[in-house]
Protein backbone atom coordinates (compact mmCIF):
# COMPACT_ATOMS: atom_id res chain seq x y z
CA UNK A 1 0.00 0.00 0.00
CA UNK A 2 1.29 3.41 -0.88
CA UNK A 3 -0.27 6.74 -0.34
CA UNK A 4 0.17 9.93 -2.33
CA UNK A 5 1.02 13.26 -0.74
CA UNK A 6 -2.41 14.69 -1.55
CA UNK A 7 -4.20 11.72 0.01
CA UNK A 8 -2.01 12.08 3.07
CA UNK A 9 -3.05 15.72 3.37
CA UNK A 10 -6.71 14.74 3.08
CA UNK A 11 -6.28 12.16 5.86
CA UNK A 12 -4.69 14.81 8.06
CA UNK A 13 -7.71 16.98 7.39
CA UNK A 14 -10.01 14.12 8.42
CA UNK A 15 -7.93 13.87 11.60
CA UNK A 16 -8.24 17.59 12.12
CA UNK A 17 -12.00 17.64 11.79
CA UNK A 18 -12.70 14.51 13.80
CA UNK A 19 -10.10 14.97 16.52
CA UNK A 20 -10.96 18.66 16.77
CA UNK A 21 -14.49 17.74 17.75
CA UNK A 22 -13.23 15.01 20.06
CA UNK A 23 -10.91 17.51 21.78
CA UNK A 24 -13.75 20.00 22.19
CA UNK A 25 -15.99 17.42 23.82
CA UNK A 26 -13.17 16.32 26.12
CA UNK A 27 -12.64 19.96 27.03
CA UNK A 28 -16.34 20.38 27.82
CA UNK A 29 -16.45 17.23 29.86
CA UNK A 30 -13.42 18.13 31.94
CA UNK A 31 -14.18 21.85 32.05
CA UNK A 32 -10.65 22.65 31.05
CA UNK A 33 -8.62 23.71 28.08
CA UNK A 34 -7.43 20.84 25.87
CA UNK A 35 -4.67 21.37 23.33
CA UNK A 36 -4.62 19.41 20.15
CA UNK A 37 -1.50 18.89 18.05
CA UNK A 38 -1.60 18.75 14.26
CA UNK A 39 -2.60 15.17 13.39
CA UNK A 40 0.07 12.85 12.09
CA UNK A 41 -0.70 10.21 9.52
CA UNK A 42 1.40 7.08 9.68
CA UNK A 43 1.60 4.33 7.15
CA UNK A 44 3.85 1.84 8.92
CA UNK A 45 4.73 -1.78 8.25
CA UNK A 46 3.73 -4.03 11.16
CA UNK A 47 7.33 -4.79 12.10
CA UNK A 48 8.04 -1.07 12.54
CA UNK A 49 4.86 -0.17 14.41
CA UNK A 50 6.91 1.03 17.37
CA UNK A 51 7.95 4.04 15.28
CA UNK A 52 4.36 5.25 15.57
CA UNK A 53 3.50 3.92 19.02
CA UNK A 54 6.76 4.16 20.95
CA UNK A 55 8.10 1.40 23.16
CA UNK A 56 5.76 -1.53 22.66
CA UNK A 57 5.90 -2.74 26.26
CA UNK A 58 5.22 0.65 27.86
CA UNK A 59 2.25 0.42 30.22
CA UNK A 60 -0.73 2.45 29.01
CA UNK A 61 -4.43 2.80 29.55
CA UNK A 62 -6.33 2.28 26.32
CA UNK A 63 -9.95 2.76 25.38
CA UNK A 64 -11.00 0.98 22.27
CA UNK A 65 -14.11 1.39 20.17
CA UNK A 66 -14.82 -0.28 16.92
CA UNK A 67 -16.42 2.01 14.37
CA UNK A 68 -18.93 0.31 12.14
CA UNK A 69 -20.84 1.58 9.13
CA UNK A 70 -19.99 2.61 5.58
CA UNK A 71 -16.29 3.14 6.23
CA UNK A 72 -15.43 1.02 9.26
CA UNK A 73 -12.36 1.49 11.39
CA UNK A 74 -10.94 1.31 14.87
CA UNK A 75 -10.64 4.16 17.33
CA UNK A 76 -8.36 4.17 20.35
CA UNK A 77 -7.60 6.69 23.04
CA UNK A 78 -4.26 5.81 24.57
CA UNK A 79 -2.94 7.55 27.65
CA UNK A 80 -0.53 7.02 30.49
CA UNK A 81 -1.96 5.48 33.65
CA UNK A 82 -1.37 8.76 35.48
CA UNK A 83 -3.27 10.70 32.81
CA UNK A 84 -6.19 8.29 33.03
CA UNK A 85 -6.22 8.74 36.79
CA UNK A 86 -6.13 12.53 36.44
CA UNK A 87 -9.17 12.42 34.15
CA UNK A 88 -11.11 10.06 36.42
CA UNK A 89 -10.29 12.16 39.46
CA UNK A 90 -11.61 15.28 37.76
CA UNK A 91 -14.75 13.62 36.42
CA UNK A 92 -15.66 11.98 39.69
CA UNK A 93 -14.76 14.99 41.88
CA UNK A 94 -12.30 12.88 43.83
CA UNK A 95 -9.78 14.40 46.19
CA UNK A 96 -7.00 11.99 45.19
CA UNK A 97 -6.42 10.10 41.94
CA UNK A 98 -8.08 6.65 41.96
CA UNK A 99 -6.29 3.33 41.48
CA UNK A 100 -7.38 2.80 37.95
CA UNK A 101 -6.55 -0.96 37.98
CA UNK A 102 -9.10 -1.72 40.65
CA UNK A 103 -11.50 1.22 40.82
CA UNK A 104 -14.59 0.25 38.83
CA UNK A 105 -16.16 3.68 39.06
CA UNK A 106 -13.04 5.22 37.56
CA UNK A 107 -12.98 2.62 34.82
CA UNK A 108 -16.59 3.28 34.03
CA UNK A 109 -15.95 7.04 33.89
CA UNK A 110 -13.10 6.46 31.49
CA UNK A 111 -15.22 4.26 29.27
CA UNK A 112 -17.65 7.13 29.10
CA UNK A 113 -14.80 9.42 28.06
CA UNK A 114 -13.98 6.94 25.28
CA UNK A 115 -17.60 6.91 24.25
CA UNK A 116 -17.89 10.68 24.04
CA UNK A 117 -14.54 11.18 22.33
CA UNK A 118 -15.19 8.63 19.65
CA UNK A 119 -18.81 9.65 19.18
CA UNK A 120 -17.81 13.26 18.58
CA UNK A 121 -15.08 12.14 16.20
CA UNK A 122 -17.54 10.02 14.28
CA UNK A 123 -20.33 12.59 14.25
CA UNK A 124 -17.93 15.19 12.87
CA UNK A 125 -16.85 12.81 10.14
CA UNK A 126 -20.42 11.95 9.26
CA UNK A 127 -21.53 15.58 9.15
CA UNK A 128 -18.62 16.45 6.96
CA UNK A 129 -18.69 13.47 4.63
CA UNK A 130 -22.17 12.03 4.75
CA UNK A 131 -20.64 8.63 5.52
CA UNK A 132 -22.67 6.82 8.17
CA UNK A 133 -20.60 5.55 11.07
CA UNK A 134 -21.56 3.96 14.38
CA UNK A 135 -19.23 3.40 17.33
CA UNK A 136 -19.45 0.21 19.42
CA UNK A 137 -19.43 0.11 23.20
CA UNK A 138 -16.04 0.99 24.66
CA UNK A 139 -13.58 -1.55 26.00
CA UNK A 140 -10.85 -0.60 28.46
CA UNK A 141 -7.51 -2.21 29.19
CA UNK A 142 -4.40 -1.29 31.14
CA UNK A 143 -1.42 -3.13 29.76
CA UNK A 144 1.48 -3.00 27.31
CA UNK A 145 0.59 -0.83 24.33
CA UNK A 146 1.92 -3.43 21.86
CA UNK A 147 -0.25 -6.16 23.34
CA UNK A 148 -3.36 -3.99 23.19
CA UNK A 149 -2.75 -2.84 19.64
CA UNK A 150 -2.15 -6.37 18.36
CA UNK A 151 -5.43 -7.52 19.85
CA UNK A 152 -7.24 -4.62 18.21
CA UNK A 153 -5.60 -5.19 14.83
CA UNK A 154 -6.28 -8.92 14.88
CA UNK A 155 -9.87 -8.74 16.04
CA UNK A 156 -11.22 -9.85 12.68
CA UNK A 157 -8.58 -12.51 12.25
CA UNK A 158 -6.70 -10.73 9.48
CA UNK A 159 -4.31 -7.83 9.20
CA UNK A 160 -2.62 -5.83 6.46
CA UNK A 161 1.15 -5.68 6.16
CA UNK A 162 1.06 -1.94 6.77
CA UNK A 163 -1.18 -0.01 9.10
CA UNK A 164 -2.56 3.44 8.49
CA UNK A 165 -2.94 5.46 11.67
CA UNK A 166 -4.34 8.96 12.08
CA UNK A 167 -2.66 10.04 15.29
CA UNK A 168 -3.60 13.17 17.23
CA UNK A 169 -2.01 14.22 20.48
CA UNK A 170 -4.32 15.77 23.07
CA UNK A 171 -3.03 17.45 26.20
CA UNK A 172 -4.14 19.68 29.03
CA UNK A 173 -5.43 19.38 32.61
CA UNK A 174 -2.11 19.42 34.47
CA UNK A 175 -0.04 16.63 33.03
CA UNK A 176 -2.74 14.83 31.10
CA UNK A 177 -1.54 13.67 27.71
CA UNK A 178 -3.12 11.18 25.37
CA UNK A 179 -3.13 10.01 21.80
CA UNK A 180 -6.30 9.64 19.83
CA UNK A 181 -5.76 7.02 17.15
CA UNK A 182 -8.00 6.27 14.23
CA UNK A 183 -7.22 3.24 12.11
CA UNK A 184 -9.46 2.95 9.04
CA UNK A 185 -10.07 -0.59 7.82
CA UNK A 186 -8.47 -1.53 4.53
CA UNK A 187 -11.48 -0.88 2.33
CA UNK A 188 -12.51 2.32 4.11
CA UNK A 189 -9.71 4.48 2.81
CA UNK A 190 -11.17 4.97 -0.65
CA UNK A 191 -14.57 5.86 0.81
CA UNK A 192 -13.14 8.43 3.20
CA UNK A 193 -10.94 9.95 0.52
CA UNK A 194 -13.75 9.87 -2.01
CA UNK A 195 -15.28 12.73 -0.06
CA UNK A 196 -12.34 14.85 -1.17
CA UNK A 197 -12.73 13.61 -4.73
CA UNK A 198 -9.48 11.65 -4.35
Amino acid sequence: MEISAIRLEALKEIGNIGSGHAATSLSNMLQTRIDMAVPKVWLVPLERLSEALGQMDAMKTALYLKVEGDAPGKAMFVLSVESAEIIAKKLLYMTAPPEIHIDEMAQSALREVGNILVSSFVIALTEFSGILLQPSTPALAIDMIGAMIDAVLLEEGKVDDSILIIDTKLSGLDEMEGKFLYIPDEGSLDKLLGVFGL
Partner: protein, 160 residues
Protein backbone atom coordinates in the same frame (compact mmCIF):
# COMPACT_ATOMS: atom_id res chain seq x y z
CA UNK B 1 29.61 -8.13 23.85
CA UNK B 2 26.09 -9.33 24.30
CA UNK B 3 23.70 -7.91 21.77
CA UNK B 4 19.92 -7.87 22.06
CA UNK B 5 18.22 -8.28 18.72
CA UNK B 6 14.74 -6.75 18.56
CA UNK B 7 12.01 -8.66 16.80
CA UNK B 8 9.07 -6.55 15.56
CA UNK B 9 5.50 -7.62 14.90
CA UNK B 10 5.21 -10.01 11.95
CA UNK B 11 8.97 -10.33 12.03
CA UNK B 12 11.62 -12.95 12.80
CA UNK B 13 15.32 -12.82 13.58
CA UNK B 14 18.12 -15.32 14.22
CA UNK B 15 21.34 -14.98 16.14
CA UNK B 16 24.30 -16.72 17.76
CA UNK B 17 25.63 -16.70 21.31
CA UNK B 18 26.04 -14.23 23.02
CA UNK B 19 23.08 -12.62 21.22
CA UNK B 20 19.73 -12.32 22.93
CA UNK B 21 16.44 -12.03 21.12
CA UNK B 22 13.58 -9.90 22.34
CA UNK B 23 10.06 -8.98 21.35
CA UNK B 24 8.02 -6.45 23.33
CA UNK B 25 4.30 -6.32 24.00
CA UNK B 26 2.89 -9.64 22.80
CA UNK B 27 -0.90 -9.72 23.06
CA UNK B 28 -2.73 -12.34 21.07
CA UNK B 29 0.41 -12.82 19.00
CA UNK B 30 2.85 -15.64 19.73
CA UNK B 31 6.56 -15.30 20.33
CA UNK B 32 8.18 -18.59 19.41
CA UNK B 33 11.86 -19.40 19.93
CA UNK B 34 13.58 -22.22 18.09
CA UNK B 35 17.16 -23.03 19.01
CA UNK B 36 20.05 -25.47 18.93
CA UNK B 37 22.01 -25.30 22.18
CA UNK B 38 24.98 -27.29 20.87
CA UNK B 39 25.51 -25.02 17.87
CA UNK B 40 24.56 -22.00 20.02
CA UNK B 41 22.18 -20.58 17.45
CA UNK B 42 18.60 -19.54 17.95
CA UNK B 43 15.77 -17.60 16.40
CA UNK B 44 12.62 -15.83 17.46
CA UNK B 45 9.43 -15.08 15.53
CA UNK B 46 6.55 -12.77 16.41
CA UNK B 47 3.59 -14.48 14.78
CA UNK B 48 0.23 -12.76 14.36
CA UNK B 49 -2.10 -15.22 12.67
CA UNK B 50 -2.50 -19.00 12.40
CA UNK B 51 -2.27 -19.78 8.72
CA UNK B 52 -1.46 -18.14 5.44
CA UNK B 53 -4.18 -20.27 3.81
CA UNK B 54 -4.62 -20.44 0.07
CA UNK B 55 -4.60 -16.73 -0.62
CA UNK B 56 -1.28 -15.99 1.00
CA UNK B 57 -0.22 -12.48 0.20
CA UNK B 58 2.19 -9.97 1.59
CA UNK B 59 4.45 -10.55 4.55
CA UNK B 60 4.94 -14.29 5.11
CA UNK B 61 6.23 -13.63 8.63
CA UNK B 62 2.69 -12.80 9.81
CA UNK B 63 1.55 -16.41 9.74
CA UNK B 64 2.55 -19.40 11.85
CA UNK B 65 3.07 -21.79 8.95
CA UNK B 66 5.01 -19.59 6.55
CA UNK B 67 7.00 -17.81 9.26
CA UNK B 68 8.29 -20.97 10.93
CA UNK B 69 9.43 -22.23 7.55
CA UNK B 70 11.42 -19.03 6.96
CA UNK B 71 12.84 -19.08 10.47
CA UNK B 72 14.05 -22.68 10.07
CA UNK B 73 15.79 -21.82 6.79
CA UNK B 74 17.74 -19.04 8.49
CA UNK B 75 18.61 -21.28 11.44
CA UNK B 76 20.06 -23.95 9.15
CA UNK B 77 22.04 -21.28 7.35
CA UNK B 78 23.59 -20.34 10.71
CA UNK B 79 24.53 -23.95 11.35
CA UNK B 80 21.64 -25.33 13.40
CA UNK B 81 21.09 -29.06 13.21
CA UNK B 82 17.54 -30.14 12.58
CA UNK B 83 17.53 -33.03 15.02
CA UNK B 84 18.79 -30.90 17.88
CA UNK B 85 16.23 -28.11 17.52
CA UNK B 86 13.98 -27.31 20.47
CA UNK B 87 11.25 -24.73 20.88
CA UNK B 88 9.56 -22.56 23.50
CA UNK B 89 6.70 -20.14 23.09
CA UNK B 90 4.71 -17.45 24.88
CA UNK B 91 1.78 -15.12 24.19
CA UNK B 92 -1.66 -15.94 22.81
CA UNK B 93 -3.63 -13.76 25.24
CA UNK B 94 -7.17 -12.38 24.92
CA UNK B 95 -6.73 -8.68 25.55
CA UNK B 96 -10.13 -7.00 25.42
CA UNK B 97 -13.45 -8.50 26.28
CA UNK B 98 -16.50 -7.09 24.59
CA UNK B 99 -19.97 -7.54 25.85
CA UNK B 100 -23.06 -8.23 23.79
CA UNK B 101 -21.06 -8.90 20.66
CA UNK B 102 -20.81 -11.80 18.27
CA UNK B 103 -18.49 -14.47 19.66
CA UNK B 104 -14.91 -13.29 19.58
CA UNK B 105 -12.50 -15.07 17.36
CA UNK B 106 -10.21 -16.64 19.90
CA UNK B 107 -7.24 -15.55 17.88
CA UNK B 108 -4.69 -15.98 20.69
CA UNK B 109 -5.72 -19.56 21.31
CA UNK B 110 -5.80 -20.35 17.60
CA UNK B 111 -2.36 -18.86 17.14
CA UNK B 112 -0.96 -21.06 19.91
CA UNK B 113 -2.53 -24.17 18.40
CA UNK B 114 -1.21 -23.31 14.96
CA UNK B 115 2.35 -22.80 16.21
CA UNK B 116 2.20 -26.07 18.15
CA UNK B 117 0.96 -27.83 15.03
CA UNK B 118 3.72 -26.40 12.84
CA UNK B 119 6.37 -27.43 15.36
CA UNK B 120 4.98 -30.93 15.49
CA UNK B 121 4.99 -31.10 11.71
CA UNK B 122 8.63 -30.05 11.66
CA UNK B 123 9.45 -32.59 14.41
CA UNK B 124 10.64 -29.94 16.87
CA UNK B 125 9.85 -30.63 20.54
CA UNK B 126 8.05 -27.82 22.35
CA UNK B 127 9.83 -27.84 25.70
CA UNK B 128 7.90 -25.10 27.48
CA UNK B 129 5.20 -22.53 26.94
CA UNK B 130 3.35 -19.75 28.69
CA UNK B 131 0.12 -19.12 26.83
CA UNK B 132 -3.24 -17.42 27.35
CA UNK B 133 -4.51 -15.06 30.00
CA UNK B 134 -5.68 -11.51 29.42
CA UNK B 135 -2.38 -9.70 29.70
CA UNK B 136 0.57 -8.70 27.53
CA UNK B 137 4.04 -10.23 27.65
CA UNK B 138 7.55 -9.10 26.77
CA UNK B 139 9.92 -11.95 26.10
CA UNK B 140 13.69 -12.20 26.09
CA UNK B 141 15.48 -15.29 24.86
CA UNK B 142 19.03 -16.21 25.82
CA UNK B 143 20.53 -18.24 22.97
CA UNK B 144 23.40 -19.43 25.17
CA UNK B 145 21.23 -21.04 27.85
CA UNK B 146 17.92 -21.57 26.06
CA UNK B 147 16.15 -19.63 28.82
CA UNK B 148 13.05 -17.68 27.85
CA UNK B 149 12.43 -14.81 30.22
CA UNK B 150 8.82 -13.57 30.33
CA UNK B 151 7.82 -10.21 31.77
CA UNK B 152 4.28 -8.97 32.37
CA UNK B 153 2.90 -5.85 34.01
CA UNK B 154 0.55 -7.33 36.58
CA UNK B 155 1.31 -11.05 36.48
CA UNK B 156 4.96 -11.09 37.43
CA UNK B 157 7.99 -12.46 35.67
CA UNK B 158 9.14 -15.98 34.98
CA UNK B 159 11.73 -18.01 33.16
CA UNK B 160 10.73 -21.09 31.19
Amino acid sequence: MSNTILVGMADFKVGKTPDKLMTAGLGSCIGVCIYDLQSQVGGMAHIMLPSSGDNMKGNAAKYADSCIELLLKDLYRLGANRIRLKAKMAGGAQMFSFTGKTPLLKIGERNAEAVEQELKKAGIPLLAYDIGGTFGRTINFNIKTGDLHIKTISHGEKVI
